[in-house]
């Protein structure tokens, strides 16, 4: 009996250690997902947002202006809670012809006393319209820095492609303004564009 008990004990200990190893591995797997997930998405394009915005730069060329068609474009703004700015669209809604270039203004004001850097991340809804909405010139292409209580106009020039699917009559362009925390410490331009590229947003 005592022999069986000892045998059983060591057998149990082995199995327990093995299973504990599995638990530790799976805990590590959760953290390994952080880099692996981005890598996986870049390789396979699973997170299709990045694909779409790349298509956006290529496809959205159109020939001529389609005067016969009206599309409603709405503008929406969000400010991340840790960015002490007010950020609003001066035009909330406009009707446009596909193929024609328009310009609208947004306004941003720094409500704190310190200099703060932020960047706007655009997205288009419905997502099917994303490739057909092209921004010729946008404040979101660069990081924006506002000194304390400074106010600035932020212009956007855009065009809706004539190739926009016929069943889309209305689309919304939404901006989320984010704070760039380490903007002063890291090599800004490269660092930022790399980080944002990883996230799959233009």
């Amino acid at each position: 009996m005592s022999k069986t008990v000892t045998e059983n004990r060591s057998k149990n200990r082995r199995t327990t250690l093995l299973l504990s190893g599995v638990v530790v591995l799976m805990f590590g797997f959760g953290f390994a997902m952080v880099p692996l997930y981005n890598l996986f998405c870049q390789i396979t394009g699973t997170q299709s947002l990045s694909q779409r915005s790349e298509i956006g730069r290529v496809v959205a060329l159109s020939d001529g202006i389609d005067k016969s068609r009206w599309v409603t474009v709405k503008f929406d703004t969000t400010v991340h809670p840790n960015l002490p700015w007010a950020f609003n669209a001066l035009t909330h809604k406009m009707r446009v012809h596909p193929g024609e270039t328009y310009e609208v203004n947004f306004t941003a004001q720094n409500r704190s006393n310190e200099t703060v850097t932020g960047q706007a991340i655009p997205s288009v809804a419905p997502w099917q319209a994303t490739p057909y909405f092209s921004k010729m010139d946008c404040f979101c292409f660069n990081k924006q820095t506002l000194s304390g209580t400074e106010k600035a106009d932020m212009p956007l020039r855009f065009m809706v492609s004539t190739d926009l699917p016929k069943d889309i009559h209305s689309l919304t362009l939404s901006y989320s303004f984010m704070r760039l925390k380490e903007a002063e410490t890291i090599d800004e331009k490269q660092g930022i564009s790399k980080r944002i590229a990883v996230n799959g947003v233009e």
Partner: protein, 531 residues
């Protein structure tokens, strides 16, 4: 060997220790099983109370009883308490009581760890309840208005109650991982001589698969909430887009745990069913080997289809197609299990005692929930149903019959074995009918609400949804109160009743029925020989 065992046995033959030490320091699988079951019963009422408040608020459109944040906090609590506090501990309680008795082992393989894995639970439950209480105090921050999925960025903005919740989840995770390791070691190493893997009772098989799922996915959730904690307090940006992270990553981590969790809740009940249905049909289980295979298939496929909870996050067409096909594939092995149960009943000499009533109820209603699950698995359809009350109706149809009714069936089936008394059959049947009718009145109308466009997790609703919500709330009161009857039956059975024989049900098969009812404090100190 047997002679030495006997000597050993005589030297240690003692009854149960007395007083609180019996429970706090217990290493006895039966006592720990009882503790688990009592804990689950208490949590069933705590979680049920929050559901009652939710349904009271939804009785009429507008905001009557609860602030929106408080409402959402109750939704969060209801889910977490029911899943981690009621269903999982109840299943673990059944496992602790039955597995050693079923495989002819004297106790669990790691009795001290068993004690630890139970006694972590009350601490975790306290943390969980504190997360609800803290916001009521000055400086306590906001309520947890995220739902049980605790998605960032909202969960990063919630006050300190979220930290209590994160630690509660850590503790609950540690508890269930320890319990799982114990169960796997017991099942692999402690079976009676002659009991091959493919001769194990089905309940043991279901728990083996469940325990493996638990140790594979719970650590990933622990990792996810740890990252959340770091994002909240240590300036990391795992899930913060402004710092280069990705909030969607949390959803992937969460559902990598969350979807297998569904099978963790379901499988032990399937195991109970595989004992109850043959016992009351007086036929052996149809297709034992195929059941084992189907179960492993469900668990395996279930591990790789998690993103069907996130169709609307904007994945590529290829990815959603994969997750859709994978999800629908699961219905094949699940269907096989259901057909096996029906084939077991086919031409059997069936009687309908309370456990069997619950078992038949599961076969009917779980299948119904499975069918609405196939609807939700289809991507274009899900874009409509996503986050609507239809989803709420679906997962309650899957989890109430699939998990909870299975546990009720198990409790009624084995209660005579545990207590030595038969429960009151009339009251048992009354409980079944009020429970099942209340359940259907509560959740069936929610399908219509969802299809008509009522979103879930919102305190108020459009007046056009009033009628079905009134029906649902009335049903919920019946359903909720019916559980008081369960409590009464259980207490009554513990205190007395008709003496149960060792084979309490005439058709019951298995080693546990060879023992007395109630069994001695230590059983199978001499391992039985399996032919």
């Amino acid at each position: 060997m047997s002679t030495t065992t006997l000597t050993h046995d005589e030297a240690h033959d003692h009854g149960a220790p007395k007083g609180w030490r019996r429970w706090l320091f217990s290493t006895n699988h039966k006592d720990i099983g009882t503790l688990y079951l009592l804990f689950a019963l208490i949590m069933l009422f705590v979680g049920g109370a929050s559901a009652m408040l939710i349904r009271m608020e939804l009785f009429q459109p507008g905001i009557q009883l609860l602030d929106p944040d408080l409402y959402n906090n109750l939704v969060t609590n209801h889910a977490l308490i029911m899943i981690f506090g009621a269903v999982m501990p109840a299943a673990a309680g059944l496992a602790n009581w039955m597995i050693p008795m079923m495989i002819g082992a004297p106790d669990m393989a790691l009795p001290r760890m068993n004690n630890l894995s139970f006694w972590i639970l009350p601490a975790a439950a306290t943390m969980l309840l504190l997360s609800f209480v803290v916001p009521f105090f000055p400086g306590g921050g906001t309520q947890i208005n995220t739902g049980w999925t605790i998605y960032p960025p909202l969960s990063v903005q919630v006050g300190m109650s979220m930290d209590f919740l994160i630690f509660a989840i850590h503790l609950l995770g540690i508890s269930s991982v320890l319990a799982s390791i114990n169960i796997i070691v017991t099942l692999l190493n402690m079976r009676a001589p002659g009991m091959k893997m493919l001769k194990m009772p089905m309940f043991c098989w279901t728990w083996l698969v469940t325990a493996f799922l638990l140790i594979l996915v719970v650590p990933v959730l622990a990792g996810g909430v740890t990252m959340l904690l770091f994002d909240r307090h240590f300036g990391t940006s795992f899930f913060d887009a402004a710092g280069g992270g990705d909030p969607v990553l949390f959803q992937h981590l969460f559902w990598f745990f969350g979807h297998p969790e569904v099978y963790i809740l379901l499988l032990p009940s399937i195991g109970v069913l595989s004992h109850v249905i043959p016992a009351f049909s007086r036929k052996p289980l149809f297709g034992y080997n195929s059941m084992v295979g189907a179960m492993i298939a469900v668990a395996t496929i279930g591990m790789v289809v998690w993103a069907h909870h996130q169709y609307t996050i904007g994945m590529s067409l290829g990815a959603v197609t994969y997750f859709m096909i994978g999800t629908i594939l699961i219905s094949i092995p699940v269907g096989l299990m259901i057909f096996n149960f029906i084939a077991t009943m086919w031409r059997g000499a069936m009687t309908f005692e309370t456990p069997m009533l619950f078992a038949v109820g599961i076969v009917l209603m779980f299948t119904f929930g499975g069918l609405s699950g196939v609807m939700l698995a289809v991507v274009p359809a899900d874009m409509q149903y996503h986050d609507s009350m239809f989803v709420v109706a679906h997962f309650h149809y899957v989890l109430m019959p699939g998990a909870v009714f299975g546990l009720f069936a198990g409790v009624f089936y084995w209660l005579p074995k545990w207590t030595g008394h038969m429960y009151d059959e009339k009251l048992g049947k009354l409980f079944f009918w009020t429970n099942v009718i209340g359940f259907n009145i509560t959740f069936f109308p929610q399908h219509f609400l969802g299809l008509a466009g009522m979103p879930r997790r919102i305190v108020d609703y459009n007046v056009m949804f009033t009628e079905f919500n009134v029906i649902s709330s009335v049903g919920a009161m019946v359903f909720g109160l019916s559980h008081l009857l369960l409590l009464y039956i259980v207490i009554k059975t513990i205190r007395g009743g008709k003496k149960a024989e060792s084979r309490a049900w005439e058709g019951a098969k298995g080693l546990e029925w060879e023992l007395d009812s109630p069994p001695a404090f230590h059983t199978w100190t001499v391992a039985p020989q399996i032919k």
